[in-house]
Symmetry: C2
Subunit: 198 residues, 2 copies
């Protein structure tokens, strides 16, 4: 196997391991076993354990930013773009991915290294949503009075959805989505039910 592929395979294994067990419980040997190598090899690709975890975190963040940028570069109109953005975090968005980000958020509270990456990702999301809203305003599709505040609201509700979908609670997912849509529509100044039509 090519070094690049091996490195990628190790990172993939690390991401899966983190999603399953969490950062703190992710051990070199488990990652190595999942990647089909011995743990001594990890040192050949990453100077130490911390670097491996940081690289795995960074990889996930970059992939997410890339996905987001793809939406941005697409020819979709602002309304459709906003739908795309809110959808990945919607029903069926992948509980495994959520688990990874919860781990990352919790880890950001203890590790200074990861907080930086976390902030970069956070900012990327904010800029993306804000851009979509402003372009929608310019195109006359939206009539949003507080683009910055609305952008934060959209992200906040998405994150909270992911959070509450995992930690459970009596509020069903469908209701969470309904609230998110209703509030977003009102903030954007578009007709109720517009977002639901997909």
């Amino acid at each position: 196997m090519q070094p690049d592929q091996r490195r990628a395979a190790i990172l993939d294994a690390a991401v899966e391991e983190v999603a399953e067990r969490g950062f703190a419980r992710t051990t070199s040997r488990h990652v190595a076993a999942r990647a089909g190598v011995t743990h001594g090899l990890l040192h050949h690709y990453f100077p130490d354990h911390q670097s491996l975890l940081a690289a795995a975190f960074e990889k996930m963040a970059l992939e997410e930013i890339d996905e987001v940028n793809e939406i941005l570069a697409s020819d979709l109109d602002p309304l459709a773009q906003l739908r795309e953005i809110t959808e990945p975090y919607g029903p069926g968005g992948g509980a495994e991915a959520y688990r990874f980000w919860f781990e990352a958020w919790a880890e950001a509270g203890h590790s200074v290294t990861m907080r930086a990456t976390s902030e970069r990702l956070s900012d990327a999301w904010y800029e993306l949503v804000l851009g979509v809203i402003e372009r929608g305003n310019a195109a006359g599709v939206f009539r949003c009075e507080h683009p910055g505040e609305t952008a934060w609201m959209v992200i906040a509700l998405s994150d909270a959805y992911a959070l509450h979908a995992q930690t459970g609670g009596g509020v069903p997912a469908t209701e969470m989505v309904r609230v998110t849509w209703r509030l977003t529509e009102r903030e954007l100044g578009i007709a109720p039910g517009t977002l639901a039509r997909s």
Copy 2:
């Protein structure tokens, strides 16, 4: 020291340790050192490590539910009660407490045991906010059309505030609070700026 006090001291130490390092990195010896005892003693109060962590988790959850009930039982009018709730970080403590909860939520993704407690807490919060809104409606202080949805929104924004305050990002805390208030006021059908007056 009395056994009860010792047990409480150990649990306090465990909670602090979890908030600082996370569940997985919380070791018997560190907890013992923080509590001023030797690690052998922990075995005398808790059968094993997992029980200690579970007890610490349960303790935090019960304390938070108690605080919630205090607000409920207070003589404050619904508006004042809602102010308490929407205050930054809510009434359950500051950023430190939320670091603990992020850890707990992440842990709930891996451990089945903790998910139940997590859900109970989640439901308690929802019922609290919903109750305040409905009593406000009955008293004519609020004119909220979707109490259930609004209750979830209030909790969601509060959690997201804590989350983004920890993971950083370009959105300043003051703006997050402003959005939360504005949206809450609109959902409750009360005049803008009402919540800000404290």
